[in-house]
């Protein structure tokens, strides 16, 4: 019995005071259970690098292995939307087909629709709830813009819009461009 009491006291001392005793210290973690490992994971903090993270930026000028064809991989028109003379490309470098437009529609729904509205009117949820003015993709200026311009706006952002180059891969950005053109064509006829 005495032993049980001791054990209870010990238990209370180690894991007790769970409620009602606020502490700025992190919670007790009795069984380490390999929850924290000395490997470097994505988005983790690290004491080694000066910026306190584990993630590094690739060295400037390096080229990773890619599954794209050599023609596309090395084409600046495709990767940047800007041609050899430094101007934004007039038309899409990829062959436009139904599959590409379908892909564009799907990606548009994920990344663009919240602000620009699924129909591209610019009256998405952000405008509705927050009253933030969003460009209508059916506007004259967007209709007149080159494909390369739309691609670059997606990549780098414009005004309040942040750049989406990071979450959306290059092929998908072109797919979104073709879907935007498709939307514009549909709206024209209606």
């Amino acid at each position: 019995m005495k032993r049980m009491l001791w054990l209870a006291a010990l238990l209370l001392a180690t894991v007790g005071c769970v409620r009602g005793c606020p502490s700025s210290r992190p919670p007790i973690h009795v069984n380490p259970n390999m929850d924290f490992q000395p490997k470097y994971k994505a988005q983790q903090s690290s004491g080694f690098f000066y910026d306190g993270g584990t993630m590094r930026v690739p060295v400037e000028g390096t080229v990773p292995r890619s599954t794209l064809s050599p023609d596309l991989r090395t084409s600046p028109e495709f990767t940047t939307g800007i041609d050899f003379w430094g101007s934004q490309v007039e038309t899409h470098p990829l062959p436009v087909d139904e599959a590409l437009i379908a892909r564009g529609k799907e990606r548009f729904g994920i990344y663009c629709a919240p602000c620009h509205d699924p129909n591209g009117t610019g009256q998405g949820i952000l405008f509705e709830k927050g009253g933030i003015p969003t460009t209508s993709l059916l506007d004259e200026k967007v209709r007149d813009a080159t494909d390369g311009h739309i691609f670059n706006v997606i990549t780098h952002g414009q005004g309040l819009m942040p750049g989406y180059g990071y979450p959306i891969p290059v092929e998908d950005r072109w797919a979104i461009v073709s879907y935007v053109r498709e939307l514009q064509a549909e709206q024209w006829w209606e």
Binding site: P26, H29, Q37
Partner: protein
Amino acid sequence: MSSRTYWRSLRQLSDRPAYREATAREFPEGASELPQGVSRRDVLTLLGASLSLAGLTACRRPVDKIVPYVNAPEEIVPGIPLNYATTMPFGTSAYGLVVESHEGRPGKIEGNPLHPSTRGASSAWIQSTIYGLFDPDRSRFPVHAGERDTWEGFLAAWGELAAIHDDDLGEGLAILSEPFSSPTMRRLKDLVQERFPWSYWVTYEPTGDENVYEGIRLATGAELQPVLHLERARRILSIDSDFLVNDPEAVRHGLAFAEGRRLTSPDDPMNRLYVVESGFTPTGAAADHRSALPSGRMAGFTAALAGELAARGLPLELAGAAPSADEVGIDAAWLGALAADLLAHRGAGVIVAGSHLPPAVHSAVATLNAALRNVGTTITFHELRDAAISNRSSFGELVEAIGNGTVKTLMMLGGNPVYDAPVDLDFAAALAGVETSIHLSDQVNETSQAVTWHLPRAHYLESWGDARAVGGALSVIQPLIAPLFGARSDIELLALMATSEERSGRELVGETWDGIDASWNDVLHDGVLAGSTLPPATPEIAPSVSTSELTLPAKAADGELELRLTPSLAVHDGRFANVGWLQELPDPATKITWDNAALISPATAQGLGISSGDVVRLSYRDRVLELPASVLPGHADGAVTVALGYGRTAAGRVGNDVGANAYLLRHSEAPYFDGGARLERTGATHRLATTQDHWVVDELGIEERQRRVGSLVRSGTLEEYRADPEFVTRHDTPHPPLKSLWSEHTYDEGFQWGMSIDLSACIGCNACTVACQSENNIPVVGREQVQNGREMQWIRIDRYFAGSVDAPDEMVFQPVTCMHCENAPCEQVCPVAATVHDSEGLNTMVYNRCIGTRYCSNNCPYKVRRFNFFNYTKDTPAPLGMTYNPDVTVRSRGVMEKCTFCTQRINRAKVDAKLAGRELADGDFQTACQQACPTRAIEFGNVLDTGSKVSAAQGQDRAYRMLEELNNRPRTSYLARIRNRNPVIDEGRS
């Protein structure tokens, strides 16, 4: 079918009671006892303060913050690795690699399938360079006269030095570099010499290919690089060359050699390898016929072979008499059969000589190859462009010049001459006489400690550069990460010397490549410029062998032995001494880890009264070295082999004071081998950390094992195989019909993973073991733990000898890893279901469930489970944690682990296939061991897919499964080893 008896070690054969006792235990004696003092943590566990795990000790959850990218790079998705092509320079060789990058941190290293030097495979050395990048003992800042300094400080100091040498036109300036093969290095070397025309440039490496180039120059009159095409060779003769493993081009050679003997049916053609060697190397183990001969007799052997070939009608002029086979010490019938075989395969054979043999041998070998019409088919010669090769004599002149006081400033680009220069030159004393010595090095090594300026050198994974690989293929070195410690690369330092300005490596390489017609982005993507291999040269080789120069050594005095010094298979010339993975890698033949030993043959050992583990005194030219002896069956009699690269004093926390420094015996007149060595016992003993008696497969007594080994590792000759393609089944253990105790699972749908290992292709090179260690976060445990049988490598390579003790005619390697038995004995005894089967046939380990009973290991018939006796990874010092694969758990103490068939790779491939909207196809991914294997001995895939490579392999008539009679249904099958014996030699013997 001969009833071969196999044995694992001399200890087993001698049948001592201690061995009997050891085999009766699961782990060697002491393995489950507490270690003494703190020495159990002698490798990595006592290192540094733990940074990321500081919170654990207080039992509180560590405070971990999310640190995202500020400006996220477009190509990176956190958690999804990218791959970059790059190139690893290694002397005048270079290896094309593809390196995995996790959010901008390099991780696993693989060969580049597009690159001719590796074709997708790699070696233990290549794999372990990632450890060198994140080595916690790397040099972190410039050191001036023993004090921490800065690059700005060095820039100022160089400014003053440059002014002095601009005045004397570089007369007092000497530059010591390692061998290289790189257009940018070459360009900058010329620029430096333009600025300092009277400066002295010396290239030196302790174990280079100098003799090979000198020999070829003697034969052809030009400096040409020999390139072997073993895939075209039907007959191969190696004269003391370990071209399959201990060779700069070993990865290429392994692939090509295996291609020449890959059997899918009994009718396939197969090459034949003859080896004459002094040690017992993996190449000797791969041989179909092997003879042991001390290195000193190789020149005589070459002359005797030339004589034999000439006598059999090869148009060859002999300048001098050829010694007879008896004088050389080789079986005359053997030599005759070899010569006849080479003659019968003119144009489809090749002779290779070890790079340590004198130039006269290489000259003779080039002549023989030319006379046999092999030049142009199985061996080609290529112009050596943009390269500098090691030169011992100019290194000697440099030391002399320093002694004369002419050298005021010595710039050393890499290398470690204080440690590895010939001992008679006394480089350390010479260096002390130089006014200003500068050493660029990745570690503060023995040389760095003795110089005025030490500068940290960038690793190849953090610098820009270029290289010419085998045959001159132009390759790019692309950095995977910015220099961790602000280090500079060789080319950046050379540019600083040439211009007194700091230039970035990228600019320097770009300037060189401006003159090369290539799409730069394509070259960076591929890692190699397609079609840049230089066309073979067509040298004139006169059919004349000066046999008078190929002399036999004088008869050894009584008790004198030949001393042979070789680069180590683990740490090479000492440069990899601080790499724990390599120190703990068992030597293929001796299975020794964490040590080098004096290797002698059983007969020599008996004559001297020495046995394995005795500390011996090795004396040579008034110098003495004490080290442990190890008796290696099959070693040449009257010779002792010692590996270089050990006994470092400033390698770092892993490599310091491991083994004995054989450079202390190395004389510039005979750097590789020489007679006149003596060996005597000191009376002391040393416990070598070997893995050969551990993990004994079964415990039913020595006779039982002797009987059984033949069924574990099955082999036969090509003749036997052709006569009876199903010969492997004759080794099956008779057993009653197999019936399970419970209703069995069926594994007949979806993916069912399986592996096949071809023992005919395995050369025992250990690449798979290190690849697995790198991929799966396997800890290094240290010498004491290995002595206790607690090594953690998931793949062990069993090595068996066959034949007599003095001249075993066979050494067989058998990689053994988890077989993923369908009816797994380990799963049946786990009380907490920590090891269970999944629907794809994987025997999985749930680490969190494991409570460490070790019942599973006890019940495993293959002994492939590894137990974490301690928390080996707890105090991993920064930045070594970056070598861990983020996709694999880092295991803690008390947890059992074993091969997972690289389940993380399977799952990634499945996800990728699903995202791409297609079915997972055969070859979409490879396991780490499979990918690294230079001979493609390992196949892995879906055994239900009849079109998969693994199904084809498992369906071969050579296939068998180990211990199948236990009804455990292993998923891994082995392909029996086939040797292509020469019937003429075998008939003569029987």
